[in-house]
């Protein structure tokens, strides 16, 4: 299962690669990383129909995670449409509601609980 992680902090890559070490080694998950909303959109266009799930931070300079979500849900991308899970440090009700209205499939607050995230990813894979 291919997962695209979008966050402006570069160290997120090292962290994910170690946290999902076993899954990556067994070929269960494959992670790609983008460091801005714009880069993520470019990646999706360059790798059509590959990404199953997008994990995106909301608060990024330039295109925010919410804008990326709007693009993913409304732009004509090749099928199947990827699932989008939003991650944010501002876990307030208003932001959550806005993300849901834009069609987010899930909403997680930072700091990320990796055990819970792993369970969610396995659930999606076995769906």
């Amino acid at each position: 299962m291919k997962i695209l992680v979008v966050d402006d902090e570069p160290d997120v890559r090292v962290l994910f690669e170690q946290r999902f070490r076993r899954e990556i080694r067994s070929g269960e998950f494959a992670f790609s990383f983008a460091y801005s909303g714009e880069e993520a959109l470019g990646f999706l266009r360059a790798h059509p129909s590959e990404v199953v799930l997008i994990l995106s931070d909301i608060n990024m300079p330039g295109m925010s995670g919410l804008e990326l979500l709007r693009h993913v849900k409304s732009d004509p991308l090749p099928p199947p449409p990827p699932l989008v899970m939003m991650l944010t440090a501002y876990g307030d009700a208003a932001t959550k509601q806005q993300a849901e209205q834009l069609g987010a499939d899930d909403f997680l607050t930072k700091p990320v609980d990796f055990t819970a995230l792993r369970d969610k990813l396995h659930a999606i894979e076995n769906r």
Binding site: E9, D11, V14, L15, Q18, R19, N59, P61, G62, S64, E67, A89, Y90, D92, A94, T95, K110, P111, V112, F114
Partner: protein, 776 residues
């Protein structure tokens, strides 16, 4: 020849001693033992305000070496004779206490000081070596040793070296303690600025010293308060000086001659203010012995006679003033008194000039003015020189000689400008001075209130007596009635006095309003600082959360990796073990890196909130720009989550560091960024289709200068407002949202604090660019 050899020998011995001292680092055990004894000494009011005589009485009864040494070391903190220093050394050597090295240096400093002429560099080296020795042992209060070092610097006439030394020691003691040494460093830095005539900085430092002294010694606290009063007086700010001087004079344990000094200063201020009865009262007090055992020294008599004579003269009693001035002159001639000494100003020549002018002896008046001026110039007393230039100009003007008055008037203008320029250079420091001063005044007011309460209580006890006195008073009133007819003839004279008093009351009211205005200004400035701190807090919380998440996450994942590593080791998989160890090492460096990131943010926040010390240091402009851009952005984002903007940074690589105050420059940048975000937000709220908010910061090197450009594509500034934006209290924000001081403070910080420039270009509906240029 013999002397020469002896000197050489002495020098060599000293070199050896200093060399040994430098090598002799105390062992950890010796240090622990010393610190245990240090803790037992309980430095506090009882320690520092102990009378040396009572300590000597205790010493006379002590036989045990350890006890005697402890008392001697207590005495050393206050005052010791050479014999006492030698005994302390003998005892410490016998007991093999680690401070014996420092005590040996104390004794050799004493010996060096006795030589004629004294070898000042050697004395200073020795004293500084002994301070270093004690510092290595622990946080030892060294106020006396530091005071001796200061006085050697003063005798050597090396003010810059003195400043450098005490600034370095201040930084050290601020980190390692003790507070006594911090206070001493503040005091000596104050004396440096005092000698330069920079009263602004001098008083700032002394207020800080007083604040610390207050916590452990009454004597030093009141001493500092009286110096602050004296400096305000010299600065020409009598109204500010009075509360300090009066508070210091009212301290019951003050030294008698210091009390006379304070009374002289108070008398001179009242004289300047034209409040003659008060001036008279204090001038008389300044000449009085406090008790039968107390004697007024000849120089104090000379210094005290002048204000008394001047008051009489000002009240039109020249004949009564004459014998006082003559007496002062006789004393001055035999003592060779300068215009200014530790006892304050001695304005005899100028007072003679006024006396001769009043009595019509103009030739002598002119000669006396010229002599006064020459003397002030010779002694580099700028405030007196200015006063005498005014005196000369006025004298010639009144004599109908405008041509001779003109050059003195011009010289006075020039000197006043120079003095003012020196003061405005430190205007930013002045804000802080005003705040510290206000806090100190409030504290003194509370002290006075306590004294008043005590007085009320004793009054109550005397009430019965007062009733009797009241009866006597009624009788007196009846007698007064009988004299009424006689007094009527003097009504006219009283009317004039009443008018005079009215004028004085009006002047006092003006003074009060001015003081209140200054206070309000200081409060507003504080408010502006707090407002910008509020803007920062939300941004900082977000900025710190991110690195902390990384620290936690990398720590967690490392724990997992360690388990896997154990498993791989048990399975004998060497390649996996190596890979896991590599990952662990990487994680540790990530944890460290993100921890550093968090602490640098906290440091930045502290720098912003701390009262600026005005200390310059090399500043990396690019790092400062990107840090504050992020902080301002996240600060706004935390308040308004819908807000988003494109941030552009174009930072010139290899920019040289700028010599500046990082906290102050950060405040300016934060202010400019916050304004830029506000402007783009306003334009976005207007609902323009296709509008993308953009805030940019760019840096570049322009010859010997560094330029920072903060630009936005916000609402822009209309031409009508452009001229006013750097004025204090000008704001376009709705009432309550801005103090209107942000840009004006920024402007002061850049132009006056850093010798740079802050300019603005703006087009309404297009955007705004602020340009800072700073010299390298």
């Amino acid at each position: 020849m013999t002397t020469f050899l002896l000197r050489c020998g002495g020098g060599l011995a000293l070199l050896l001693l200093l060399g040994l001292a430098a090598q002799a680092q105390p062992s950890p055990a010796a240090k622990a033992q010393f610190q245990r004894r240090l803790r037992a000494m309980h430095f506090g009011h009882r320690f520092w305000d102990a009378p040396p005589d009572s300590l000597r009485r205790v010493l006379a009864t002590q036989r045990a070496d350890t006890l005697r040494l402890q008392t001697l070391e207590h005495l050393q903190a206050l005052y010791t004779s050479e014999a006492e220093d030698r005994e302390a050394l003998t005892l410490a050597t016998k007991l093999r206490y680690p401070e014996r090295v420092a005590l040996r240096l104390t004794v050799s400093a004493n010996q060096l000081a006795r030589a004629q002429p004294p070898n000042l560099p050697a004395i200073r080296d020795t004293l500084q070596a002994l301070v270093t020795q004690y510092d290595a042992l622990g946080a030892v209060p060294l106020v006396r040793a530091l005071a001796n070092i200061r006085s050697v610097y003063d005798q050597q006439n090396q003010p810059e070296a003195k400043r450098a030394y005490f600034q370095q020691k201040l930084a050290y003691y601020q980190q390692h303690g003790p507070v006594e040494n911090v206070a001493a460093c503040y005091r000596f830095l104050g004396s440096y600025y005092d000698s330069r005539g920079d009263y602004n900085q001098a008083i700032s430092y002394r207020l800080r010293a007083a604040e610390l002294f207050r916590t452990f010694s009454e004597a030093w606290y009141y001493n500092e308060i009286s110096v602050i009063g004296a400096e305000y007086a010299e600065w020409g700010n009598g109204a500010r000086a009075l509360p300090y001087l009066q508070q210091a004079a009212s301290w019951p344990s003050s030294d008698a001659s210091n009390e006379r000094f304070l009374n002289r200063s108070i008398a001179s201020i009242y004289l300047q203010q034209g409040r003659y009865p008060q001036a008279m009262r204090y001038a008389t007090l300044a000449l009085r012995a406090r008790s039968p055992r107390d004697t007024v020294a000849a120089y104090e008599r000379a210094l005290g006679l002048v204000p008394l004579g001047a008051v009489l003269l000002a009240q039109g009693q020249a004949a009564a003033a004459r014998p006082l001035l003559q007496q002062a002159q006789r004393l001055a001639d035999s003592l060779h008194l300068p215009l200014y000494s530790g006892g304050g100003n001695f304005e005899l020549p100028a007072t003679w000039a006024r006396y001769y002018a009043v009595t019509g002896d103009y030739a002598r008046a002119e000669a006396a003015w010229l002599a006064a001026y020459r003397q002030a110039r010779l002694e580099h007393r700028e405030p007196l020189r200015l006063a005498y230039l005014h005196g000369l100009a006025e004298f010639y003007q009144q004599r109908g000689q405008p041509a001779r008055a003109a050059p003195y008037a011009l010289a006075a203008l020039g000197l006043a400008d120079t003095l003012n320029a020196a003061q405005t250079a430190t205007r930013v420091a002045q804000y802080e001075l005003a705040q510290a001063d206000r806090a100190q005044q409030a504290r003194m007011a509370r002290l006075r209130q306590q004294q008043t309460q005590a007085a009320t209580q004793s009054r109550r006890q005397r009430r019965a007596l007062l009733w009797v006195s009241g009866g006597v008073f009624v009788l007196l009133l009846l007698a007064t009635g009988a004299f009424y007819a006689f007094l009527r003839s003097q009504r006219l004279a009283r009317l004039v006095t009443a008018q005079k008093q009215d004028l004085q009351t009006q002047r006092d009211q003006l003074d009060t309003s001015l003081t209140e205005l200054r206070q309000t200004q200081a409060q507003l400035i504080q408010k502006e600082k707090m407002a910008s701190l509020g803007e920062l807090t939300a941004g900082i919380a977000h900025e710190i959360q991110n690195p902390l998440n990384f620290v936690n996450n990398f720590a967690d994942v490392s724990a997992e990796l360690v388990n896997e590593l154990h498993a791989a080791q048990a399975a004998g998989d060497a390649a996996e073990v190596a890979a896991l160890a590599g990952d662990l090492a990487q994680n540790l460096s990530k944890i460290h890196q993100h921890g550093q990131r968090a602490s640098s943010i906290v440091r930045g926040m502290l720098e912003h909130s701390r009262a600026s010390t005005g200390e310059r240091q090399p500043v990396e402009v690019n790092a400062l720009c990107s840090e504050y851009l992020r902080l301002a952005y996240h600060g706004l984002r935390a308040k308004d989550k819908d807000f988003n903007a494109t941030l552009e940074t174009d930072l010139a690589p290899g920019l040289p560091p700028v010599n500046g105050v990082p906290g102050d420059l950060g405040r300016v940048l934060l202010n400019l960024f916050t304004n830029a975000f506000y402007a783009v937000q306003q334009r976005q709220l207007a609902g323009e289709p296709g509008y993308v908010p953009r805030v940019a910061v760019a840096t570049q090197q322009l010859g010997e200068q560094v330029e920072i450009c903060v630009s936005d594509n916000g609402t822009g500034i209309p031409d009508s407002a452009k001229a006013k934006i750097f004025q204090p209290f000008f704001t376009t924000k709705p009432t309550g949202e801005g103090t209107g001081l942000g840009l004006s403070l920024s402007y002061d910080i850049i132009t006056q604090g850093h010798g740079g420039a802050l300019t603005v270009e703006s087009q309404p509906g297009v955007g705004t660019t602020f340009r800072i240029t700073l010299p390298k």
